[in-house]
Amino acid sequence: MTAILCQSLSKTYRSGLIRRREVHALSDFSLEVQEGEIFGLLGPNGAGKTTFIKILLSIARQTAGSAFILDEKVPEAKIRSRIGYLPENHRYPGYLSGEQVLRFFGQLSGVSSGDLSLRIPSLLELVGLAQWRTVKVKRYSKGMMQRLGLAQALVNDPELLFLDEPTDGVDPVGRKEIRDILTGLRDRGKTIFLNSHLLSEVELISDRVAILDRGRLLRVGTVDDLTSEGSHYRFTLEGGLSEALLQEARARAYHLQQDGEKVTAKCADSHELNQLIDMLRRHGVLIRSIAPERSSLEESFIRLIKNEEAG
């Protein structure tokens, strides 16, 4: 089953009565997310990430296009009983305890009282708030609020989970715990849709990612796909390369950079890499080591965004 399917989704916000202003939050955006994967949506501020989630959850309405969640057309209220959502900058009533927050939003999710009595203690245990269950949430730290938000998103045992900046304000240990929870959920067959600007977080747990900028989809693929673009190999050579050999290699369109005995080469694929090795060996160059060096997701992301800005 497809967890999320959207086709040519567009959203234009209009404001002003006399001087109409239009902001295109999403433009002709199409995406497919498979069931059981952790999918990361990346983009700079204002890229349209949150707008996309809001359209899927019927918090905002699309201007054009169509969207389906778990094979049901959006907007369809009943589908939301199979969805969990942790919004960015969420607020819970400070006068309620963590337990009361989960009970209230669980009731609104249509979970029976009996199920809630069983589920709430285990959820609080899962997110590490068991000892704080009766404490009013106004006394919670930001990290604790995020944990509570995650528990709230899980209160109806959803098949699909939307998380907007889930590790915002959480310390490194807490982030690791949240990552473990999310991978555990994925292993149980849940689909997780992640919005985050913490690229290293997304890189660690996402099966696939999409990059969105100014409402348009730039790339979608696995983290490997995205980080292999622009990847290179670092050669350590005995004595380095002669100037003549360097010129010859460049003439054959190999992108080489030399720094002492270290040579960095950009190769489009393993075939090109082997051709370069053959050429170096033909010239009697002694290769001590070859190490692949990939771009981080952050580097790939920044490169894509800059390319986009440059047109």
Binding site: S58, A77, G94, Q107
Partner: protein, 276 residues
């Protein structure tokens, strides 16, 4: 289940804001005054009603006593509804604007319920809080008067329901303003203007708005507004008649809820079309 959860949550929210306690506190204070002030004495000539030890009337027969008591109850109900309108709106108007705040509305709207249900749950919560206070005040004052004077007027209890209905109608204005403005202040000010000032111009339109123009279309619009908006003042003035068992005009009891339901419907429609 979902509406009940929203209703109970409104009680917790208002309790946390102290307004519920203040509302109950004012009621308790008035009840204490009634308890201390009211007493009665029997003589061969009839029953004498005393207020702070001073005879409020000469000794009267049971029928006249019942009439006297219903007058007192009418005064109490009038004061209560004035206080409820003023303080109840002030205390509960924040329920919908608070729910529309960023970070809160996202969670509400991600739940499997229609938007009108959220709005209705909030309205029921506000009306429920006010109803609880009316039940407390009317029930307790009915008991005090019954025990001290021996007159048990069931119409006074029924008036509690009418007051709740009138508040629910007034609250539809609050809901409408809260949806379009997302502001507690505007909701309160708008509701107060409607409750305190609009009657002067709409109910008293013949001596106010009619004077502006004799144009038939203009007057039809003014009349249309009067009949389209909830006639809360007409409704509340009938509550006194209800307690005194005088003839009651039932049209406002029908017109006000229908009009309030229509206003709530428009608010729900606008709420449904809003992007958050």
């Amino acid at each position: 289940m979902k509406l009940l959860a929203l209703l109970l949550h409104a009680f917790l929210e208002l309790k946390a804001k102290i307004t519920l306690i203040v509302l109950a506190g004012i009621s308790t204070l008035v009840l204490l005054v009634v308890l201390l002030a009211l007493s009665s004495g029997q003589s061969e000539a009839g029953t004498t009603l005393f207020i702070f030890g001073q005879p409020a009337s000469p000794p009267v027969a049971p029928d006249a006593l019942a009439k006297l008591v219903s007058q007192i109850q009418g005064e109490l109900a009038g004061g209560l509804f004035f206080g409820i309108s003023l303080f109840g709106v002030f205390a509960t108007a924040s329920l919908i604007p608070d729910a529309q705040e960023k970070g809160t509305i996202d969670i509400y709207l991600s739940k499997p319920m229609a938007r009108w249900q959220l709005l209705l749950g909030k309205q029921l919560g506000a009306v429920g809080v006010v109803f609880a206070n009316i039940v407390y005040f009317v029930g307790a004052s009915w008991l005090i008067i019954g025990l001290k004077v021996g007159v048990w007027n069931p119409h006074y209890l029924a008036a509690g329901l009418s007051m709740t209905l009138a508040f629910a109608c007034l609250y539809s204005i609050v809901v409408f303003l809260a949806v379009i403005s997302r502001s507690t202040a505007i909701s309160i000010i708008g509701a107060f203007i409607y409750y305190f000032i609009a009657p002067v111009f709409l109910e008293g339109r013949e001596s106010t708005l009619y004077l502006i123009s004799e144009n038939a279309v203009y007057r039809a619009i003014v009349d249309g507004l009067y009949y389209a908006l909830p006639q809360i003042t007409a409704l509340t003035s009938n509550i006194g008649n209800q307690i005194a068992q005088s003839p009651v005009e039932w049209v406002p009891f029908l017109q006000a809820p229908l009009s309030a339901a229509a206003i709530f419907g428009v608010a729900a429609l606008l709420f449904n079309r809003t992007d958050y």
